[in-house]
């Protein structure tokens, strides 16, 4: 199936590039959605079966793949909305759709890969396809964003490669011939701790560029800012999961060795700094899209805190990622309507959003409560569990600091959101506002409802999957 999927999405991507008609694009989108859904269903049924040598749908891959599939359909829908309101040349639209398909394909394949080298290759492809999306507007700023994204991601991916080479060194000491995660996991006890430490440093730092963690988070912020909002939704949710997958799979191996404690320290430092950086920038940022992107850095920091703390934290971390991947796209989709209303990304130019678009304003308000993890948000549950795990592992002071930082983030986020919703806009000519149809907000409502539902009433199948994903950890 994975072979069919890869070939199918390549064909659909190429067809998108050459297909000039609206009806062709519509047909191809439906085809691709069907392909994506059938992949997710197939991998769910055939869990644990090795396909095509290099792909195994384990529990983690199945969870993230399902999330990806749910996100795909609104992303394609909002891409059509985007092009309806902002006309581009057919060639540029074709490029956009082809790159989106490539991005979704490489993300899905990176989840499923069971070999370090293969994961690496698909992560590289995500960089390339994402940069085509960031460059979509073809102006000076988007060029700058693209340049920085490619440059930082290339350095990061090189770091990951060096890390893989270090793993190879210690693997060869024991005559293990390959880099399958399962082989490494089975032989984890044999591997030399020194090389593993070195490898972990490189691999972790490298994947932070995708995961949006300190130190390499910067490229992702510019990317989410400059990409069109449907792609921003992809970059801010499922692509961050790819970075997490890369880190998590290697962390899983190191957790069976003597360096487990040491890796936890590294992750903890990076996580706390991520939350701290997010707080600092949330206070000063005036660009709505960048504000949403920094919120992603904060949430990845929290996820990593859960991983470092261990225990129930593992479960909470993955649950948090799933919920975050539904909540963040809702915000980005809503941003498209805000931008159309005010023609600006700056908070200063906005206001009275309730007056111009009631359905959209409700989404923004609800998304604010959900993303900042206030009850009844599902993210409240996962954040609470993360805090609980921190408390249980004795990081009391850290917990207090993090909670203070989160309070500041909620204040900063709220200040901007309420400005958009309720304050009076300055110098705003409301005669040109075209009210957005409420159907555009429908997908956001569904996504936000999913966050609440999955957090408060987690379905048994999902709980089982998450437990299975983390039970290999020590």
């Amino acid at each position: 199936m994975i072979a069919i999927y890869l070939a199918g999405s390549l064909i659909i991507g190429t067809a998108f590039y050459f297909g000039k008609k609206h009806s062709t694009r519509l047909l191809l989108s439906v085809l691709f959605s069907l392909l994506q859904v059938s992949l997710a269903v197939y991998e769910f049924i055939n869990r644990g079966v090795v396909q095509f040598t290099y792909f195994t749908p384990d529990a983690l891959a199945v969870i993230f793949l399902s999330v990806m599939t749910v996100i795909t359909i609104p992303v394609l829908y909002h891409s059509f909305v985007y092009f309806e309101k902002h006309p581009y040349k057919p060639r540029e639209m074709g490029m956009y759709f082809a790159a989106t398909i490539m991005l979704i394909m490489s993300i899905s394949a990176a989840y499923l890969a069971n070999h370090m080298g293969i994961t690496w290759v698909f992560v590289e492809i995500t960089t390339l396809s994402a940069s085509a999306l960031i460059y979509h507007r073809r102006n000076k700023l988007s060029l700058e964003g693209t340049w920085k994204y490619i440059f930082i991601c290339s350095i990061s991916i090189t770091l990951v490669f060096i890390g893989i080479l270090f793993v190879t060194v210690t693997v060869q000491q024991h005559g293990i011939g390959d880099l399958f995660y399962s082989t490494l996991l089975a032989n984890a006890g044999l591997l030399n701790p020194f090389w593993l430490k070195l490898a972990f440093l490189f691999i972790f730092t490298g994947f932070t560029a995708k995961a949006g963690l300190f130190p390499m988070y910067t490229a992702g912020i510019d990317a989410k800012d400059k990409a069109p909002y449907p792609s921003g939704a992809l970059l801010a949710s499922v692509l961050m999961n790819v970075g997490f997958t890369g880190i998590f799979r290697f962390y899983q191996i190191t957790s069976h060795t003597s360096i487990h404690e040491w890796t936890n320290k590294i992750i903890l430092i990076s996580a706390v700094l991520s939350v701290f950086v997010a707080t600092v920038y949330m206070l000063r940022v005036k660009n709505i899209k960048r504000m949403m992107a920094y919120s992603g850095v904060e949430h990845m920091g929290l996820v990593m805190l859960g991983i470092a703390a261990g225990g129930i934290g593992y479960y909470a971390a993955i649950l948090h990622l799933v919920l975050h991947s539904f909540a963040k796209p809702a915000l980005f989709f809503q941003f498209g309507q805000i931008y159309r209303t005010y023609g600006s990304k700056s908070v200063y130019d906005t206001g009275y959003y309730f007056k111009y678009n009631v359905a959209g304003a409700m989404v923004l308000l609800a998304a604010f409560f959900i993303v900042t993890a206030m009850p009844p948000s599902g993210m409240f549950v996962s954040e609470f569990l993360i805090f609980k795990s921190l408390f249980a592992s004795g990081y009391l002071w850290l917990l207090i600091i993090i909670m203070l930082l989160l309070t500041v983030i909620i204040w900063a986020f709220g200040k901007n959101v309420f400005k958009i919703l309720f304050a009076k806009p300055v110098d705003f000519d409301e005669s040109k506002v075209q009210p957005a149809h409420y159907t555009e907000s429908l997908s956001q409502y569904i996504l936000l409802a999913l966050v609440v539902y999955l957090g408060l009433f987690p379905p048994a199948a999902m709980v089982e999957l998450i437990k299975e994903a983390v039970n290999m950890l020590m």
Partner: protein, 209 residues
């Protein structure tokens, strides 16, 4: 033979730290490609023939010919001034790169391991850090790309060190090489020349909070 080639490669790193003109940078990068061709030839002679040809073609055609020509084309097309314009003086650069090489030497000695030959490790680490150093201290966007190419060469040496038993890794590393160099050079250095008046990193400071 291998030792000689790798030492020559290390000397080019010192040379690039004090080079003044953009053309010298390009020539050094081309020369590094040729040296790596030699290293790959000696090192990988016993792996299967298809892989060997792939690696050798990549070093000689991509690293030693295509990329330098492309860099030259970008220089001419965008009328980039020929000075490299480093932030620090050449003397300081030479001292720092020497320290980097010495540091890698001691680091590699500390990490004695029978499965990695020390000299590969030293050279690879030196190239990595020198590349980063070049990126940090040079002002032009195109020199950042060159710094990245030096890092790539370092990674190539490192992958050769473990590559004789795992040819697949070498091939993946080469994929990285080709992908990134082509994308970085081909599309963006070219476009940045069109959109921005000067090829200076100072121009890339508009995206911020």
């Amino acid at each position: 033979m291998i030792n000689l080639l790798l030492i020559i490669f290390t000397i080019t790193l010192i040379y690039i730290s004090m080079a003044n003109r953009m053309m010298t940078y390009i020539r050094i990068i081309a020369f590094q490609g040729i040296v790596l061709f030699g290293v790959a030839l000696v090192e990988l002679i016993e792996i299967n023939i298809g892989n060997l040809i792939f690696v050798l073609l990549e070093t000689i055609i991509i690293k030693a010919i295509a990329i330098p020509l492309f860099l030259k084309y970008i220089l001419d097309r965008n009328r980039i001034t020929r000075e490299a314009e480093p932030y620090v003086s050449n003397f300081v650069s030479v001292v720092i790169v020497t320290i980097i090489i010495l540091g890698s030497f001691f680091l590699a000695n500390a990490v004695s391991d029978t499965h990695v030959r020390k000299i590969f490790f030293i050279v690879a680490l030196s190239a990595l850090f020198t590349g980063l150093y070049v990126i940090i201290t040079r002002r032009k966007i195109i020199t950042h790309v060159m710094g990245f190419l030096i890092i790539e060469n370092g990674v190539f040496v490192l992958s050769l060190a473990v590559g004789s038993e795992m040819p697949m890794l070498v091939n993946i590393g080469i994929l990285l090489d080709i992908f990134v160099s082509v994308i970085l050079l081909g599309i963006f250095a070219d476009k940045i020349g069109d959109v921005f008046e000067e090829q200076d990193v100072e121009q890339l400071r508009n995206l911020k909070d």
